[in-house]
């Protein structure tokens, strides 16, 4: 049997060759996508403790912060995953652009969805939203008074996350940023979740539709879950009494 020259080329740097092949890059984007979706689900479950009252949310937050170095390790890992997700997308974007320099004059995007065609744009808007969200509630530079809010929980002085969130979401423009930013995330995940099964090769022609519908359902469920918090606070006065 003859070996084709392209197949012979791998050798000792087979890992690197795989990583920077078309399929390798796509796989990195899909795999980091799964991890980011897992984070988004976990983050929502934690945040929903706000509906259980100030102590529930504050003790959840205090528990997270008590992890100390482990928390920083998780944050660093998340940042790494996000950077890899974006970096490999950019590499793919550049190649995809070069592969179709001339667009059709009579353009007709047959077979595609608007979610799929806007992945890069929706992703970049979500990135901007994530940066705002971190500045808002993690670094607390949007409203510096957030940093000084404290409360006592079981005799310990802890950061009053509940008061911070309720105050934060009492601001109309901020609520709008969250509602729009999270909508773009849903838009992104409407294609992303279903699509990653295809990229990772764990699909077949019968099950694909299920993944697509399931992915969209999860994306919208996440949207409903996330915006329930600002909407409950801004429109239905959740927690207003508790922080008086």
């Amino acid at each position: 049997m003859t070996t084709s020259p392209a197949a012979k080329a791998a050798g000792p740097c087979a890992g690197q060759i795989w990583l920077f092949s078309s399929i390798g890059k796509k796989t990195v984007v899909a795999a980091t996508g799964i991890l980011l979706v897992a984070f988004v689900v976990g983050h929502l479950l934690g945040n929903l403790t706000i509906f259980l009252g100030p102590d529930a949310l504050n003790s959840y937050a205090a528990k997270l912060h008590s992890l100390g170095p482990a928390l920083w390790a998780i944050r660093a890992a998340l940042l790494g995953i996000l950077v890899a997700h974006i970096y490999f997308t950019m590499l793919l974007w550049k190649e995809n652009h070069a592969a179709r320099p001339q667009k059709y004059i009579a353009s007709n995007p047959v077979g595609t969805t608007v979610f799929a065609r806007t992945m890069r744009l929706s992703g970049l808007i979500v990135l901007a939203f994530v940066i705002f969200h971190l500045a808002h509630f993690t670094v607390r530079v949007v409203d510096p008074s957030f940093a000084t809010m404290t409360t006592t929980l079981d005799g310990h002085k802890v950061h009053d996350v509940y008061r911070m969130v309720v105050t934060g979401f009492s601001n109309g423009p901020v609520v709008l940023v969250y509602v729009v930013g999270l909508f773009l995330l849903t838009f992104h995940l409407s294609h992303g979740i279903g699509s990653l099964f295809q990229t990772l090769g764990i699909t077949n022609r019968r099950i694909r539709r299920t993944y697509e519908i399931g992915g969209r359902a999860l994306a919208w469920a996440l949207y409903a879950g996330y915006i329930s918090i600002p909407v409950s606070i801004f429109f239905f006065g959740l927690g207003k009494g508790a922080i008086q």
Binding site: A6, A7, W18, S22, K26, A99, K103, H191, I202
Partner: protein, 252 residues
Amino acid sequence: MKFHLKVWRQKDPKSPGRLEDYEADNIPADASFLEMLDIVNAGLTGKNIEPIQFESDCREGICGNCSLTINGVPHGPGRGTTCQLYMRKFRDGDTITIEPFRADPFPVQRDLVVNRAAFDRIIQAGGFISERSGSAPDANSVPIPKTTADEAMDAAACIGCGACAAACPNGSAMLFVSAKVAHLGLLPQGKPEKDRRVLGMVRQMDQEGFGNCSNYYACEAVCPANVPAAFIARMNREFTAASAKEMAGLPV
């Protein structure tokens, strides 16, 4: 029937091209799209205008030579090749835009003719069975499960026309490559070279400058052979599995 045509005219690979307007008069509704162009060309010759260059061969839907994008869709509306597209599909008086297949690795040679040698080079990088397996074996002498045979046949339906790469907003040839990888790799004759085939063909595809799949599924929507995009998923996992073998130092 009567149509207004906007046709991409380009003198040679280096010249810039542009759309030019032509009128197609007295076209029978049962003429195929290519026959319609033949009629238009016959009229142009009389007027001393260079005829519109396009490729065609079998004119029965199996060769995949016609590289026309009609109103933004490779091979035009509906599944099937351009020769199997009949003018009755259009409305009388329609304006029809005809462009060549677009993808960087498919350079336009002239008008609607593109060079698809990139696909040949991908085939040369692994789309074959090295050992002569003799003449067609007797039926059932090599038992193959029905589902496997059906799956391989679905992949083998690919005629290599390039509509998938032309439809893909990323100019990705993955539907074509995955069909070849699956059709040969599923059957006993092609299985021994499965790993080196997928490695060779995918690397050649990347080297030719085809884009990466974003799971738009535009390829599947235009494929005249109805090749499903599930074969791309199969190729993805086979490529990663074969790469893992390479990384582990196993022979491929």
